[in-house]
């Protein structure tokens, strides 16, 4: 957009841009819901604030409707604003993932907020804003649009991380997240400015046409490296991961779920947009870098997770390590397994969202009773809450990649992508991944051990009462995790046809 503004003649007659309202419908619906939530919060009495979560939840589902109608409408791609905003099968798929993940987070938040006595209106307002940013990220095909989407999704998340404002750890969480996030934005913006300077356009497709392997200017190389580093912060890839454990531990648990799933997924979506559209011929530059990052991310995340005694912190490192697995296919993007890599990442994101959100739902449910975040507080969970115990086991097994739960499809796709590349790099990465998936079971297994084999720590075996919204979240995630593992076709048939 910036480029078109700069290039256009100031006195030329103005014609209003053609806007495809159907294509923008999900964003428009979401924007409407955001306004509705804000207004409703202002004029509702304190006792009726529960309406807000209902509006937010139904709003997210309403925004999902146009995604379905767009998907069945048959247009393969609707491009707007000179190619800066594209609605295609890929973006529809990731938008769908964001919206459904957002819906589950709303379900998780409902009782957490009501019982914890937190501000509700602003919470849902910020949450929805962040989701809107993610939905926009799915379609962003322009450096400026990407940047705006990124800030749109990040800034509300900074505030949400610090939502438990009387808790020192939550303040730390918000501050760290904010400072490092802003730093990452700065690095990324610098990279973007270099790219713009080198290629003269902010449209990703235009950049892609200018950047060619071998004949790339040093400035462009710097640009690519800085942009990727910026997003490496966002997806908490090693060595840019330091904020994640503290932030995850301090933030309210539903927000931790949101950050570790949706926000991370948005970072990956942005990376995909950039790498597949802007740097498809820059493999020489980004592949080794991402490969090394992927290997060190999964390894370090795993090794650190082994030592944790706090569940959320353990999951923070687990999510870092899972991020390494998602990065793995990106390390071979641009080569002959490009298509496989794209399928693998999107599939992984979907499976990971279902599984991790489910696990956080269990954590929230259990901590309603135990009021503790320590691993040992889960002792004997199976004996007094068998359903939660089995669900937690299923989610952990899925994260560990054990069939027939969803995780194996995700891991399988990632391995498939790196092995198709046929390079030694690819095989080496696959071996590192294989070894890591074993290490990961060390801590997933230790949680399972608590659930099944340890005694109840305080002998209190009263069953856990879970509110209906939490039950719904558990059922959605549990069902999705199992279904994705048994009939992977339900996600693969979509993620396999997407192209960029």
């Amino acid at each position: 957009m910036l480029s078109t503004l700069l290039a256009s003649d100031v006195v030329a007659p103005f014609s209003s841009p053609k806007i495809d309202y159907h294509a923008l419908a999900p964003e428009l619906v979401l924007a409407g819901v955001i306004v509705a939530v804000l207004l409703a919060d202002l004029f509702l009495e304190e006792s009726k604030k529960w309406v807000l979560s209902t509006i937010a939840g139904f709003g997210l589902l309403a925004a999902f409707i146009p995604i379905v109608t767009l998907a069945v409408s048959g247009h393969r791609a609707r491009s707007m604003f000179g190619g800066a905003y594209v609605v295609d099968t890929y973006s529809l798929l990731v938008k769908g993932i964001f919206l459904l993940a957002g819906y589950v987070v709303v379900l998780l938040s409902q009782n957490y907020l009501e019982e914890g006595d937190y501000y509700q209106g602003e919470y849902y307002f910020l949450l929805l804003s962040s989701i809107l940013g993610m939905v926009m990220m799915g379609s962003s095909r322009d450096l400026v649009t990407i940047f705006v989407s990124l800030e749109f999704l990040s800034i509300p998340a900074y505030m949400l991380a610090a939502w438990r404002k009387r808790d020192l750890k939550s303040n730390e969480a918000g501050t760290k997240y904010y400072l490092l996030g802003v730093f990452a934005s700065a690095v990324m913006l610098y990279g973007m400015s270099l790219l713009y300077g080198d290629t003269g356009t902010t449209i990703l497709k235009g950049i892609g046409a200018k950047l060619q392997n071998g004949s790339m200017s040093p400035v462009a190389v710097l640009g690519i490296v800085f942009v990727i580093i910026g997003f490496a912060f966002k997806v908490s890839a090693v060595p840019f991961h330091n904020w994640a454990p503290d932030t995850y531990q301090g933030a309210p648990t539903p927000i931790t779920a949101f950050l570790s799933v949706a926000s991370k997924a948005a970072g990956f979506v942005a990376l995909i947009n950039l790498i597949y559209v802007a740097f498809p011929h820059g493999g020489d530059v980004f592949q080794p870098m991402i490969g090394v990052m992927a290997a060190s991310t999964m390894t370090l995340g795993n090794v650190m997770a082994l030592r944790q005694t706090n569940i959320v912190r353990m999951l923070a490192y687990s999510s870092i390590s899972q991020g390494g697995f998602i990065l793995m296919p990106l390390a071979v993007a641009g080569g002959k397994s490009s298509g496989n890599a794209l399928t693998a990442i999107v599939t992984y994101l979907a499976v990971y969202a279902a599984t991790n959100l489910g696990l956080f739902a269990v954590i929230i449910a259990v901590s309603r009773k135990t009021r503790s975040g320590e691993v040992s507080s889960w002792g004997g969970l199976f004996s007094y809450a068998p359903l939660l115990g089995v669900l937690a086991t299923a989610f952990l097994a899925s994260l560990a990649g054990i069939p027939p739960l969803g995780g194996w499809v995700a891991k399988f796709g990632a391995f498939r992508a790196v092995i198709t590349s046929g390079t030694n790099w690819g095989y080496a990465l696959a071996i590192v991944g294989a070894v890591n998936s074993v290490i990961a079971f060390g801590y997933y297994g230790s949680l399972m051990r608590e659930i099944w084999m340890k005694p109840v720590p305080d002998g209190d075996t009263a069953p856990i009462r879970t509110p209906s919204s939490l039950n719904a979240a558990l059922m959605i995630c549990g069902g999705a995790t199992l279904a994705l593992g048994v009939v992977p076709g339900i996600i693969l048939r979509f993620s396999d046809i997407i192209k960029l």
Partner: protein, 121 residues
Amino acid sequence: MSQLLRSYLTVAMFGAIGVLLAALLLAISALVRPNRPNADKSKVYESGVDPIGDGWSQSQIRYYVFALLFVIFDVETVFIFPWATQLERYAGFGLLEMGIFVFVLLLGLVYAWRKGVLRWV
């Protein structure tokens, strides 16, 4: 592989130059500037007055909220002025867009009003 190394060499050189430049500037200024310490210079600067109390004293939050409100509506004019100069050119489309823009900002005002920000006491 050499191509690969060359790519990353650029990045490494860039980083090295960045560090060197900063170090160089600090070094030059350290060499060139006169060094005459006195007691007043090491004081915490506070409008030229001797500091009173500790650094963590509280200030009225309302100043902050008002400042924020001011900035929002101040920036609003920055967008409205250029639009106003081209009002006829952008015609109906421009009017609609600006209407949405002002509406969203208005929501902010309503929010501030309902939350009691506009009352001073």
